[in-house]
């Protein structure tokens, strides 16, 4: 499969996951080139339309990365994103895309390893299909 078709879009909360991604870079941890990180102020900002657009543009997987449960600066942003992702998953299923291709991830700003681990898990899932 062409690498171009395998893009993963990661919507990253500026308070946690974006910093985790930065940290992964600072630690010189290698991760696949096909991840595109989009910075959002809070995971709660990510709407279903953003996720669907990513798939329309050829992404093979979408990750929404926010803070740990209960540690959202905006109290409910990450839990709302999670609910929204369920809905997005339902929509994907209807058009014949595996609902596992969209996933919510909870990270703290220092969890660079987990950031990469989640990307690799998503890559595996994409390769399986």
């Amino acid at each position: 499969m062409n690498v171009d078709n395998n893009k993963i879009v990661a919507f990253c909360c500026a308070n946690s996951a974006y910093q985790a991604a930065d940290k992964a870079g600072k630690m010189r941890l290698c991760y696949p080139d096909n991840v595109r990180i989009i910075r959002v102020p809070c995971a709660g900002r990510v709407d279903v339309v953003h996720i669907l657009k990513a798939f329309e543009k050829g992404a093979a997987g979408v990750l929404v990365m926010g803070c740990q449960e209960g540690a959202c600066q905006h109290l409910t942003g990450n839990t709302r994103a999670k609910e929204r992702l369920k809905y997005a998953g339902d929509l994907l299923k209807e058009v014949g895309i595996d609902r596992e291709r969209v996933k919510m991830v909870n990270l703290a700003p220092d969890m660079a390893q987990k950031f990469i681990c989640e990307i690799e898990v998503m890559m595996e899932k994409i390769k399986e299909a």
């Binding site: 910093q19 080139d33 989009i38 709660g44 900002r45 657009k53 803070c67 109290l75």
Partner: protein
């Protein structure tokens, strides 16, 4: 559009900058592409300055290190040049591109820059303006935390009003017998604070008063206070909640009802204040801890203090039944040692002890894990463990103000992003006992951060806001109240337009820019400049884009 590329002192060797520049130059809307070695240093700033002043550009894209590191620096630079910083878009080509791989990443870097450019094209200017804020602070609760906050704020020149429900100031300070390890007694401490408050022109005290309604936002809270039969409105810039906690012996914790031989800490304190009134000196006194609450910081401290006071004033034998004595407060370990030295006996149990009445005395039966034997101890008095609970009305107030509570019902659950005392509502601070099991030392930390927080918000009498960064389009708004319900910062209000129509409006100063409302609005009426739907979509769309496919 002007594009600045930074190769970080030549260290980003796996990105071919001339190739990127050659690739992007062909785009119509690119005015120039500069490659610099260090945008964050003085020479880089000079390069940006001269370019922006000489070229007629209306968007800036900077491809450099993470925006977490340098965004504020570029924003300040652009502000100085009278270039609206909201028209700046950043591409992170260092942490999230060059450093993630050994090999060549030019392609990825180009794409990241294209994404930033896609966003930049749609950015709209956001003006900054300063708005005036009310400099007065309301302190709710006249206990230690409340009084201390008011005094500290007064020292910084901020006027405060203390609203206390009881007829006198003092709160829990009146109910403590002594602080062992501290030279001042609670009474001395209380008296000196009250005198200081009376002398202070910056502090107004309203006793036997309560707050009945809170409206408005940070900088301009509209508070209705009822004092006696009168009800009146006052305006404040910030609110410090120091409503304290209450203690109670819950019937489910102790099957025997309190009264008679089982007493509370407060009963004991009263006894200690007037030992001459006692008919008979109690020979043995038992304390019991860790029965109802594992996290018993305050009960432990008060038991240790009171046990020492009993030894000193009554000379009775004192036994403390505990599971794991928590000495995590400052000075508590010393207090514990002092108690042991003065003859207080600590007995450690594992299973909850049995308590029953026998011949007018209370017997405690427990298996001591250190002795490995059953211990039966008849005492004249048993001081029961109390639970620290949130004050009455906390639940109602927290739901009215949209403030979270923790699992025990105290205000302000632990949240790593908020300072210990700040809350999701800007301008509302929670200090001391109302935030949970806090000892004096922790309360002082809270007070310091709340005082600092409110001072930095209000001290200048004005605050800079980004005007209508998040804006509700009155044409599209159907007043469904979704945004008002979901806003974690209470920044949305319903306002009446001059016509019949009511629409939601976002208060710039209270808004924290999370965008939850903008994602949830069913009418898509909320525009979040910088993270608008179109801007995020443009970033997504720029993936895999080439010059031809644009």
């Amino acid at each position: 559009m002007g594009i600045f590329l930074c190769d970080c002192g030549g260290s980003l060797k796996n990105i071919d900058f001339p190739k990127i520049s050659g690739d992007l130059e062909k785009l119509e809307d690119v005015a120039f592409i500069d490659i610099s070695h260090s945008l964050c240093l003085e020479e880089g700033e000079k390069a940006i300055t001269s370019r922006i002043l000489s070229e007629n550009i209306n968007r800036v894209v900077i491809a450099a290190c993470s925006p977490e590191l340098r965004e504020h620096k570029f924003v300040r630079l652009l502000e100085g040049l009278r270039f609206n910083p909201s028209l700046l878009s950043l591409a992170n080509i260092r942490e999230q591109c060059s450093w993630t791989r050994e090999g060549d990443v030019t392609e990825k870097a180009t794409e990241l820059i294209r994404m930033a450019m896609g966003k930049a094209r749609l950015l709209q200017p956001v003006e900054r303006e300063s708005v005036s804020v009310n400099k007065e602070v309301l302190v709710l609760g006249g206990g230690f935390s409340g009084m201390k906050s008011a005094l500290e704020l007064s020292r910084l020149g901020i006027r405060t009003t203390i609203v206390e429900g009881k007829s006198t100031l003092g709160g829990k300070l009146k109910e403590v017998e002594g602080f062992y390890g501290l030279k001042t007694s609670p009474k001395q401490m209380l008296d000196s604070m009250i005198t200081a408050i009376e002398k202070d022109n910056n502090i107004e005290v309203l006793t036997s008063a309560e707050v009945t309604r809170v409206r408005g936002e940070v900088g301009d809270f509209d508070i209705t206070i009822r004092g006696g039969r009168k009800e009146f409105s006052l305006s404040f810039g910030a609110i410090i909640f120091a409503t304290g906690y209450r203690t109670e012996i819950l019937p489910q914790d102790f099957e025997l009802k309190p009264g008679g031989n089982i007493i509370s800490q407060l009963d004991l304190v009263e006894m200690l204040r007037a030992p001459e009134k006692l008919k008979r000196r109690p020979e043995t006194i038992g304390f019991i801890l860790d029965v109802c609450d594992e996290n018993s910081r305050l009960p432990t401290l008060s038991s240790l203090n009171n046990a020492l006071a009993v030894r000193e004033k009554l000379g009775s034998e004192v036994y403390v039944f505990c599971k794991n004595l928590k000495v995590d407060s400052e000075g508590a370990e010393e207090l514990y040692r002092e108690a042991r030295n003065r003859g207080v006996v600590f007995l450690k149990f594992d299973e909850p002890p049995q308590i029953y009445c026998e011949d007018g005395r209370v017997a405690i039966e427990a298996k001591d894990v250190l002795l490995g034997e059953e211990v039966v101890l008849p005492c004249d008095l048993l001081v029961a463990e109390e639970r620290a609970l949130p004050p009455e009305g906390t639940k109602g107030l927290s739901s009215m103000l949209n403030i979270g509570t923790d699992f025990q019902g105290f205000y302000q659950d632990e949240n790593v992003h908020l300072y210990s005392a700040a809350s999701a509502r800007k301008g509302m601070f929670f200090v001391g006992g109302c935030r949970g099991n806090l000892d004096l030392r922790r309360a002082l930390t809270d007070i310091a951060s709340a005082v600092m927080g409110s001072y930095s918000l209000l001290a200048l009498g004005e605050a800079v806001v980004e005007v209508e960064k998040v804006r509700v389009d009155p044409e599209k708004c159907r007043a469904c109240l979704t945004c008002i319900r979901v806003c974690p910062h209470g920044a949305v209000q319903l306002v009446r337009l001059d016509t019949e129509k009511e629409v939601a409006q976002i208060y710039d100063l209270a808004c924290d820019g999370c965008g939850i409302c903008s994602a949830l609005c069913p009418a898509k009426a909320i525009d979040f400049k910088g993270y608008a739907d179109e801007q995020i979509l443009a970033e997504v769309e720029a993936m895999g884009e080439t010059n031809e496919r644009r």
